[in-house]
Symmetry: C3
Subunit: 429 residues, 3 copies
């Protein structure tokens, strides 16, 4: 049977090896060990919880892996329609040879056993990487991560800074900072110096970017050291800050990060729009939502102030995509980056991809990242993106613009891989 | 001729009998009596008015039905492109045997006559219900509706509460409350008791839900009885309240409704986003619009406070759909509900349907309701939805996911009917 | 080879001659003189700048045209994917006989020469107009434009009023007003009188509309002369106004414009949503962006106050389109107008076109305007729109509604041309 044009392009895109520029992989335990590691991903636990499974059933202390899966499986019937379920099925088929249409209470046990056997093979991690075509996997590391004990050319460190910007008033965060830098800053300058040590630590260990997720109401502004001094002093003395003071302190730290990104030549990944703990009784990592009333105009001052810093920007609300496209079309330092979280389903990816390809320079688009916690997820997530990208390339470029297939593929390769290399500094793998 | 895949699925979906979970039907006069009842629907009068027909021509006191139709018909030429017009044509074809492509000044009279003859048949209501495949029709009842004189197992009552939450300062509303409950509350507690009587009255008469439409700036919060006491006392004494006090009173009443929904096990239909009387000289029911700057984050406190209450949520702005999808994906008590008003046209329905089917558990989606004022409208409105649903099932599931047709149909049946039964308590018809 | 249905409709739409109802053409130099005039369009300079070309390279004082093109051409490789590039290629093919797939450093010189030769022909302007099928071109004129020295029946004047509403505190703007009207207003009444003279001047010279672009936070309200008097006096005395006073003055002038639109029977084009100078170091005309948090509810008072004034409204954010559709569906005086700037790419045009055709009276839609600075751009921009319109007519009307092709074409002709004539007063060409 001859392939349709989108299928032909998809097949070609599938053969491309990848760099995954944003994940939450633990490099010391990158692959899953059993089905509970996969089904324990918050996408499944939160959907099962949403459909009716009690949180206490999912998060019971000491819960055995097998029992956890047994409790989750019956609820899969309620989410078979979802994109998330299609990833699950694709993983089970591709990695574990699962042949059935659904995972049910009557067939999950054999799947559990067969998958566990495969995952217990010593080369499982390498097997998954090979089958997924991954050349490099970027991490998201706490600021005090020692970054030791793994191959940093393959698992590339990235400095995650949410805690520094938003949680410096938590004693545990300050203690971690002190432990990592030897400093307990009593002034704005001292805090800057400590943060500089973190950047140096990460730079020395092959880090390629600084990253942060930001709530919808955040708006970066410079804060003078004079204003920041007493806030830093009081925060590190354990005093409570007012809401306004917390905003100033966050802005001061954030601006400091941008300055170091400039100095260390790190792209600064901005993931804009998440409200934390909206669903208070949600499952682990399944409590965050958003407020679509956010605008990139809030970042005007920042984007103008740091022309040499590249800002790969992800937006959580699909209603923000046109702003992202337009800001990337105008600002030399704005990069469109992936399809994040609640926007990571086909209907939104397709439209966002079309808009970006129609209006942003091809060099300024990072097509996709997996955001995964376990390696097995890269394969189905990137396959979802590649199917959509193939459809858009077929419809808008080969048919709509009369491009040859090879030329369309070049564009696909650029947003899938080429730009990741040019923006973050290339693959050393 | 062989059917296309979407057509095949559509044909199958058409054979499914329905429960319409939200209408404005008057159960004492559910069907139209002449074409003026159909063309008098605000969708037509407001579009004709928008195109240039004077309001005074449409709303002239004592206007004869036939003359009203005569005045409206010439303006239909300006709205033949609209989805609303396609409903009109489908009704005329399906119910009255109309064969022509357009309704014009030269052919409307025979249509008027033939339709009037049919509508005058004693079994017209039953005929429409049969042809439309309706097993049950949910109503929207004023809080003081006696709910007598009709088959409450077929026309299912629903407690509409806009007046209680937003218009308690109108003397007529308070009088209606007093008449319905015997109470003239002078305290927060007494008002709660009166509202409890309304719930009991509705529960006793087979009501299945409480419902309300809400402006974009509304944000539910609990209000203590201590705060509410003087507001209730002054409101029922006929005093004017300040804007802030009105907000507090609205919040108090709204929260009370949610408490009774919990107690009486009523789902609480929230229809979020309408601004009333924006077009001040618009025709009857054709004055309301919206402000798309609204977020479900405004409902965070409510959704967390009432985990046992189901909230079927309709949003007016299509820009709110992704939030609705995401909140339904995370919150166990959030249900996606239909395609409301300005979002009830194919381009928005298709996209919203795709997003919901891709990311919300299949058990938590109410596919469609007609919102109709006269029974004849269920047929074309549901047909519009079924065509779109068939297209999405064909493209995203049969083709995209390689599901069998029957499996896709199961999903279609669930969102079209099955979930209405499980969420509102099943059909007794 | 037989044409597909969309292609068949497109071919028919292509034969339709047009009126372009909104451009920035200079009637004294309407066509390009060399490729630099085309590549100097901000769409190309800002994209090249965004991709990495230094502003100083583009805007070097005294830069030779040929050298400017030479510097821009290498950057075209980075924007070949964009819709804007497709316009460029279509212009080069249609007007200059360019045959290659791309414009590159190795082929641009022959293109430059051949195009220069063609553009130097004395009938170039007429040739472009003929080939583009343009019957009339609407201008955007400064309030002090003498409107002399060109054919005002072909190049139709339009009064652009941004300076009056937002920049009256700039000495240069006040001087221009004084020069144009002989007045240096010291009171609200005197300012009104001066503005009235401008309207009379434009009306006498065949102007057909008043137009303005508006920032997202603007909300028109009436301001009494008593309030405006001291603001006008101080502004014209060169005093500084506070931010609140500037808002009041802007509102006073804006409301005055609406009053004169009513008196002179001018439609008032509102182009809603632009933030000026967001990208501070952007290239000329490539600095403006937007904040999608805007609502037409801000225009409620205006739309109700001037029922006889037609308001063709363009929105910058595609997230505003549903509001525009809904307001045009309800308000008799709201017209949907074109696809503006950041929304002028296929993915947004298609969706916005579908929504408008599905829900707004066909008489109230201005399908497209080019917004061009040079005549050559009408051809590719209108062709882009016509392709999308043909696709929508084919899918939603011929297939979806079973209309005949001719009937669908009638609808297409109405939104492409017919409504421009009825709304702005017809063609005198």
């Amino acid at each position: 049977m001859s392939l349709s044009l989108p299928e032909e392009i998809f097949q070609q895109l599938q053969s491309l090896r990848l760099i995954d520029p944003h994940t939450h992989i633990n490099p010391h335990q990158p692959a899953s060990r059993c089905l509970a590691d996969i089904l324990g991903y918050h996408y499944y636990t939160e959907l099962a919880h949403s459909a009716g499974l009690a949180k206490s059933q999912i998060e019971e202390p000491g819960l055995d892996s097998r029992e956890k899966v047994r409790r989750l499986v019956p609820w899969l019937a309620t989410i078979e329609n979802t994109a998330q379920y299609s990833w699950l099925l694709e993983m089970c088929r591709e990695f574990f040879g699962f042949q059935e249409e659904r995972i049910t209470p009557s067939n999950w046990e054999s799947l559990y056993e067969s998958s566990k056997t495969r995952m217990a093979q010593p080369d499982w991690e390498q097997h998954v990487l090979n089958q997924s075509g991954l050349d490099q996997v970027y991490l998201t590391n706490d600021f005090d991560d020692p970054l030791e004990g793994f191959d940093r050319n393959f698992y590339v460190p990235c400095l995650r800074t949410d805690d520094l910007v938003f949680h410096l008033c938590r004693p545990a965060v300050r203690e971690r900072l002190t432990k990592a830098t030897g400093a307990s800053p009593g002034s704005a300058r001292a805090l800057k110096d400590a943060i500089g040590l973190l950047f140096q630590h990460f730079k020395n260990r092959n880090a390629r970017a600084c990253a942060i997720s930001l709530p919808p109401d955040f708006s970066p502004q410079p804060v003078s050291e004079a204003v920041a001094d007493p806030l830093v002093a009081r925060a590190f003395a354990g005093a409570d800050l007012t809401a306004d003071e917390l905003v100033s302190l966050s802005r001061f730290v954030f601006w400091t990060l941008a300055e170091f990104c400039d100095q260390f030549q790190f792209p600064f990944d901005l993931m804009i729009g998440v409200n934390r703990r909206v669903c208070e009784n949600g499952v682990f990592q399944g409590q965050d939502l958003f407020d679509s009333r956010v605008s990139l105009i809030q970042y005007k001052t920042l984007l103008n102030a740091f022309p040499r810093v590249l800002f790969p920007i992800s937006v959580l609300a699909e209603t923000s995509n046109q702003e992202l496209v337009s800001y990337a079309w105008i600002f030399p330092n704005v990069i469109t980056s992936g399809h994040w979280w609640y926007s990571n389903i086909p209907v939104f990816i397709e439209r966002d991809t079309k808009a970006r390809l129609q209006a942003v320079p091809s060099t300024k688009q990072i097509g996709y990242y997996s955001d995964m916690y376990k390696l097995e997820f890269a394969l189905p997530k990137f396959a979802m993106y590649r199917r959509i990208l193939a459809k858009v390339l077929a419809e808008d470029f080969v048919i709509g613009r009369r491009w040859g297939v090879e030329r369309a593929l070049e564009l696909g390769r650029q947003v899938l891989r080429g730009n990741v290399e040019t923006i973050f500094g290339g693959s050393d793998a």
